[in-house]
Subunit: 211 residues, 2 copies
């Protein structure tokens, strides 16, 4: 019997063609396809299908890969989750692993590696992309200084990545300039930067704000 696989990816072309590729591996059946986490939730509930393996894109509208992985690992703990992404942004990899993914594959992976990965996940339960250049040591290091950013700070970050002055931001957030100043100082420390430009860049790099 073939192994059932689900795919969630907002790029339809990739979603469908990856499905074709999985089928070409002969041993997999694509039983669910969705464009984002929300759609996946609905399809899983409706169809009562539970694939053994789920390939999850990280960047998706409506409901992103991290939320999706969290939901799946809570709702279907036996399901093997595989994160699929284009950028090898460290903090995102960590988040996906934390959210319950047992493997992280880049989209520049060779199909053969995908096949090998899926096979190992199915048999051994995990897969380490040793061939890829993911540096686990660096990962753990960055994890150590992975920091908790409050909702208010995140909100401020959005404004900080803007042409607005701090005074304008304060007005927009209905807060005093001094309060804003506190957020800034706190974030400078957390993200290890020294200027607003550095802050904005780091925020984008970490995916804390969407451009």
């Amino acid at each position: 019997m073939k192994t059932s696989v689900g795919i969630v990816d907002d790029h339809q072309l990739f979603l469908k063609s990856l499905g074709l590729m999985l089928k070409s591996f002969q041993v997999y059946d694509v039983v669910v396809e969705a464009l984002n986490g929300k759609e996946l939730q609905e399809k899983l509930k409706e169809s009562q299908i539970t694939p053994s393996i789920m390939l999850i894109d990280v960047n998706m509208p409506v409901m992103n890969g991290i939320e999706t992985a969290k939901w799946l690992s809570k709702k279907h703990p036996q399901m093997k989750l595989v994160a699929l992404s284009m950028n090898d942004n460290d903090s995102v990899i960590i988040d996906m692993i934390k959210a319950g993914c047992c493997a992280y594959l880049l989209k520049e992976t060779h199909p053969d590696e995908l096949e090998k990965a899926l096979h190992e996940i199915h048999t051994k339960g995990f897969y380490n992309a040793d061939a890829s250049n993911i540096n686990y040591r660096r990962l753990l290091l960055t994890d150590k200084d992975a920091v908790a950013i409050t909702d208010k700070e995140k909100n401020f970050l959005q404004y900080a990545c803007t042409d607005m002055t701090y005074k304008e931001i304060a007005t927009a957030m209905f807060l005093s300039e001094r309060t804003i100043d506190g957020y800034r100082e706190s974030l400078f420390g957390k993200l290890k930067v020294q200027s607003r430009v550095g802050l904005a860049m780091e925020a984008i790099r970490r995916g804390l704000v969407t451009l």
Copy 2:
């Protein structure tokens, strides 16, 4: 006889699976696959193959989509070029069209639309993604204020998207602070921003600097 197609995309998974999808349309033969423009150049020269249609990803390392499209339209003017991208960044679309692409498709396009597009391109020579939300009016408007950015300015932009102060940037570029100041002022005008943060954001948004 089947129509010959080439694909250039740095994401191997996408490259290969898209190839499978094209084959599944029955009337296309994928004759060349490359991970970037440079590799494509070599493969085309070596094999002496000239596909009728070339699908070109915009974001690629080594040699990106714009350069690749320019080279192809000069070297193989009869080849139909199709830009393939994930973001619908206006200025990039314009650049790809200018570089000789006769169509621009997003990766979130549905496979049916891709099939339709390829068919139209093959028969009529062009394709307009009317179903997609590309707003041509907006495109032309942004084109009007598309501005020429000099190499020096681009170099400065890289530094501006950094934690460095202008003084440090000046030192790093072996120029006076005043000269740097001129670049800044010029770019503020060209990109219509009023602060360094705004400049940095716009630079990233337009793909002028890579994060």
